[in-house]
């Protein structure tokens, strides 16, 4: 098994045409072994801790805003990303968390 330790990801999605806010959290301590590992992998791939928040820029009308907080051990990172210009790996993480991490909808 690779490096253990608790990883928790919280996502708040706001905006969009409807302007509705949705929040979800995933925590390795609350997931079974396989899905906990999946979460760790998605967090690693997203390199979320090295990203910086970005403004939406133009051409972003009605797209989603994601407020993401990743806690890994005692290190906590908060970041604001925008649907229109976020890296694909971060997009996969956000989607996985918001969809309740069911394996079928991991993509």
């Amino acid at each position: 098994m690779p490096e253990q330790g608790r990883v928790r990801v919280e996502v708040v999605r706001s905006g969009g045409f409807a302007g509705l806010t949705r929040a979800a959290a995933m925590d390795t301590e609350e997931l079974d072994g396989e899905r906990a590992e999946q979460l760790r992998k998605l967090v690693d791939e997203s390199q979320i801790q090295s990203l910086t928040s970005a403004r939406p820029g133009s051409g972003a009308a009605d797209r989603y805003q994601y407020d993401i907080t990743v806690t890994r051990g005692d290190r906590r990172t908060s970041i604001v990303l925008h649907e229109s210009n976020m890296p694909d790996a971060a997009r996969r993480l956000v989607r996985w968390v918001l969809r309740g991490a069911s394996p079928a909808s991991g993509r």
Binding site: G15, G16, G19, R55, A61, D62, R63, D67, V80
Partner: protein, 445 residues
């Protein structure tokens, strides 16, 4: 008039505004807009009836814009670049639509399924998008003399079936994109024609004003899309302002949701109240302005305030909303004083100036505009009938200098220019909290 679209584009690609401060132009001076004034004058004299009527309107609009520019020059303000704005189509050739299918991926634009003039596809989403973009094009061409998003016949690109379970629609700077909903809470987003008009209007606003999608300028951007989207719906149903429902996104909710639509311009805050979704969070008065860092600073929330102002103007004036209220809002959007960081109050002043310019000081229209903004907590009493310099100074002098630190002020993604803008922010805070001036309608004391 034999000028083809090609030729018109050639003419409009000139180096920009070259006339002097009084708006005089010569044959070697390509101007903003599609055709230079001297050509319009020719059409006004020699064209057929529709062309004459159209050219006459164009000239009027041109003159009003030039007058505003002359005023701003006299006031010592630097006129903003005129680039491709004030789109006045005098012989619009009709829309050029292409609807594509993303086939439930995030790839844009996807596979083309219906181009201009093609028969129906039997895919409701594709056909609704095609028809909705057509209706929006028609409203802009007929009521606002505007030939598409850029005023120069730009193709209208729409993609349907975007992504999976995607309960959203958006404008990405190039095209309009529609999701199918999630089948649980939301139906497909093409069912509401005002949603389609809303997305197309984002393109118009981007071309004309570049309103930054953040806090008040973003909420104003949203509100313009709702106002023009709603007018598209009223245009399609041929409804007058006083008879229209002023709902945004009617039909988007599945029957599991307790609500009539996503937003209501007539009654912001009352569109839905549902155990799952909660209650419609829109305010309709500055005293209830929501300060938040979510939703790009509440752009879909605080848009309720200018939304309601537009509704009040349109219903006060009665008749078709695009005849007068729409002209005032559109004229304000095209105003040379429009800036990317425009807030509610600045925009309210622009509508006031536009109403005065179009209909005269003290006119029914100017009065309706003043009363509407006052009703939503933006008091324009005492504004001069024609805007003069020093807007910001005027605005700052009007309210006291309260201060509020909010979550948004610590947002990591404020740009430098937006940080600068916050010098102006206390007045918004004051109005928002209802803390000063006694303008709050609600009794909070």
């Amino acid at each position: 008039m034999g000028a083809s679209r090609q030729q018109r584009r050639h003419i409009s690609r000139g180096p920009g505004w070259q006339s002097d401060a009084r708006g005089r132009t010569g044959p070697h001076c390509p101007c903003q807009g599609i055709l230079p004034p001297y050509v319009l004058q020719q059409i006004a004299v020699n064209g057929n009836e529709r062309q004459r009527r159209s050219a006459g309107t164009t000239l009027l609009l041109d003159q009003s814009i030039r007058l505003a520019r002359a005023v701003s020059v006299e006031a010592g303000l630097t006129p903003r670049a005129f680039a491709p704005r004030a789109a006045v189509g005098i012989e619009a050739e009709g829309p050029d639509r292409v609807i594509s299918d993303a086939q439930h991926t995030q790839e844009l634009p996807g596979v083309p399924v219906r181009a201009e003039g093609d028969p129906e596809t039997n895919d409701p989403a594709a056909d609704e998008a095609y028809d909705g973009l057509g209706a929006t094009y028609e409203l802009f061409a007929e009521a606002f003399e505007r030939d598409s998003i850029d005023g120069a016949g730009m193709s209208l690109l729409g993609t349907v079936h975007f992504d999976e379970d995607y309960a959203n629609a958006f404008w990405d700077g190039v095209q309009m994109v529609f999701g199918d909903g999630d089948e649980e809470l939301f139906n497909r987003f093409t069912v509401a024609v005002d949603v389609i008009g809303h997305e197309l209007m984002h393109g118009v606003t981007e071309k004309e004003a570049g309103l930054i999608y953040w806090q008040q300028s973003g909420a104003l951007n949203e509100s313009l899309s709702d106002a023009f989207g709603s007018m598209v719906k009223q245009f399609v149903t041929s409804e007058k302002a006083e008879d229209a429902d002023w709902l945004i996104g009617e039909g988007l909710f599945t029957d599991r949701i307790q609500g009539v639509a996503l937003r209501s311009m007539a009654a912001p805050g009352e569109a839905y109240d549902d155990p799952v979704l909660g209650k419609d969070p829109q305010p309709k008065h500055m005293s209830d302005y929501v300060v938040t860092s979510a939703d790009n600073g509440g752009v879909h929330i605080n848009s309720g305030i200018p939304n309601h102002a537009f509704y009040l103007v349109a219903t006060e004036l009665q008749g078709f909303a695009w005849e007068r209220a729409g002209q005032i809002w559109y004229g304000a959007l095209l105003s040379p004083r429009m800036t990317p960081r425009m807030g509610f109050r600045g925009f309210a002043r622009l509508t006031m100036g536009t109403a005065t310019r179009l209909y005269g000081p003290g006119s029914e229209e100017a009065l309706a505009v003043r009363n509407a903004w006052s009703a939503v907590g933006i008091d324009l009493a005492g504004q001069r009938s024609r805007p003069r310099g020093g807007f910001a100074a005027l605005a700052r002098g009007r309210v006291g200098g309260g201060r509020a630190v909010t979550s948004s002020s610590t947002s990591p993604w404020l740009s430098g220019e937006q940080r600068d803008e916050r010098a102006d922010r206390p007045r918004e805070r004051n109005a928002a909290s209802g803390a000063t001036g006694g303008r709050s309608r609600t009794s909070k004391s």
